[in-house]
């Protein structure tokens, strides 16, 4: 296989894409064949639940593998160093928009947040622009989007993308306007400025395909249990669970306070985009309203206590408070608008 990729990387990608689509198209009929082989009454609850499970599990995993593969290859073009060079010296406004968009395609792990933050500021990326990147990178990512698309449809995924980007752009812009550079820790401000340079890119298409496979192994290998749990919950409550408890807490009739309460519950929780999906699935199935659930999801992913503890090493308390306040307000606005419109 390795030789095959090396001799003709383009051909390999074409064949792989065709295989992927072929496989994707056979999933639904295959799930019917599979469930018919079981001794179950067609049309019964158990039959429908199992058919849903047999169809959704491979569908979501296949989608995820495809998207992660493509994103792994795209990521290899956007190293943090290159992103930094693109953003250094940008004006606010344009810079905030660029930073939020680059946040989607730049590989990012929450444990890198602080070194990345300092590296950006050191190279002359404006503070507000840096924040736009830091907010967008974990919140608007391909895993969250793929899972939302696969489980809830493209409209919800697109909405999440649009709203997430808007929050990142506006929050970063506001933080920039507040001129809070003085609230960086002293040692960060005193670090020598560095030039944002990029080394020449020497990766071949073969290398990028390797990078794609590596991220499929790493990410899909890590998130499949969450995905399975999410779908199992979804299949399990397909019509089984009464929709009263969550509906009264997070449903449409619950009142305005359910949105801020969701943020308060979400902040201390920390999990990645995949880990939150089973919870989202369960909440929606139990009658929680979509806006409130999205608020909960965004605050879990974008604002987390452990991250703030690490950020405290580089930001003074006031700047952290402003960061949390601005992002939380943005998320709540999204929730209110959403609940009012949908």
């Amino acid at each position: 296989m390795k030789k095959l990729i090396q001799s003709s990387p383009r051909g390999f990608l074409l064949v792989a894409a065709m295989l992927w689509f072929g496989l994707y198209k056979t999933l639904e009929p295959f799930s019917h064949v599979l469930v018919k082989a079981l001794p179950l009454e067609p049309g019964s609850h158990a039959y429908n639940s199992l058919q849903f499970f047999f169809y959704d599990t491979p569908k979501v995993l296949l989608l995820l593998a495809g998207v992660v593969m493509v994103m792994g290859m795209i990521n290899s073009y956007f190293t943090p160093e290159r992103t930094r060079a693109l953003l250094a010296g940008r004006r606010e406004g344009v810079g905030n928009i660029m930073a939020s968009l680059l946040g989607i395609v730049t590989p990012f792990c929450s444990c890198s947040a602080v070194p990345l933050f300092i590296g950006f500021v050191q190279a002359g990326v404006p503070l507000g622009v840096t924040f736009s990147f830091l907010i967008s990178a974990p919140m608007v990512n391909e895993i969250a989007l793929t899972l939302l698309f696969a489980l809830f449809g493209w409209k919800i995924a697109a909405l999440y993308l649009g709203l997430g980007l808007t929050i990142a752009i506006l929050s970063g812009y506001i933080i920039g306007r507040l001129k809070m550079e003085a609230h960086l820790e002293d040692w960060v401000r005193n670090m020598p400025a560095v030039a944002a340079t990029v080394e020449g890119d020497t990766l071949s298409l073969t290398d990028r395909i390797d990078a794609g496979f590596a991220s499929v192994r790493e990410i899909v290998g890590k998130v499949w249990p969450y995905v399975l749990a999410g779908i199992a919950i979804g299949a399990g409550i397909h019509g089984y669970v009464p929709q009263d408890f969550m509906a009264s807490l997070m449903g449409k009739e619950a009142g305005w306070w359910s949105v801020p309460v969701s943020v308060l519950i979400g902040v201390p929780m920390y999990t990645n985009a995949a880990g939150i999906i089973p919870i989202v699935e369960a909440l929606l199935a139990k009658g929680a309203s979509l806006g409130t659930v999205l608020v909960f999801m965004m605050s879990v992913i974008a604002l987390s206590l452990p991250e703030m503890v690490i950020l405290r090493k580089v930001l003074k308390l006031r700047l952290i408070a402003v960061f949390v306040g601005v992002v939380a307000t943005g998320i709540m606005l999204v929730g209110f608008i959403f609940n009012a419109v949908v």
Binding site: P80, S110, C111, V114, P115, V194, E218
Partner: protein, 76 residues
């Protein structure tokens, strides 16, 4: 003897990287001195933006993500 430092603030990937290098050094019987740098100021001193990073004899040879086995083998 080679000096290898793993730079990272203590995330899962950093621990995996440390373990991987330890394991492969034992397999190959390579003598190394392995250190873990967790202090953020020290990490920034190496100019690394994405952790985990790996420093081999004072030079940054890797940054961002767990290195592949081939890459680690190249260092040992």
């Amino acid at each position: 003897m080679k000096n290898i430092k793993v730079l990272g603030t203590g995330c899962a990937n950093c621990k995996t990287t440390l373990k991987l290098i330890e394991e492969m050094a034992r397999e190959k019987g390579a003598e190394i001195q392995l250190e873990k740098i967790e202090d953020i100021q020290a990490i920034m001193g190496y100019g690394v933006m994405s952790t985990p990073g790996v420093v081999l004899d004072g030079k940054v040879v890797h940054a961002g993500g767990v290195p592949s086995r081939d890459k680690v083998a190249g260092w040992l």
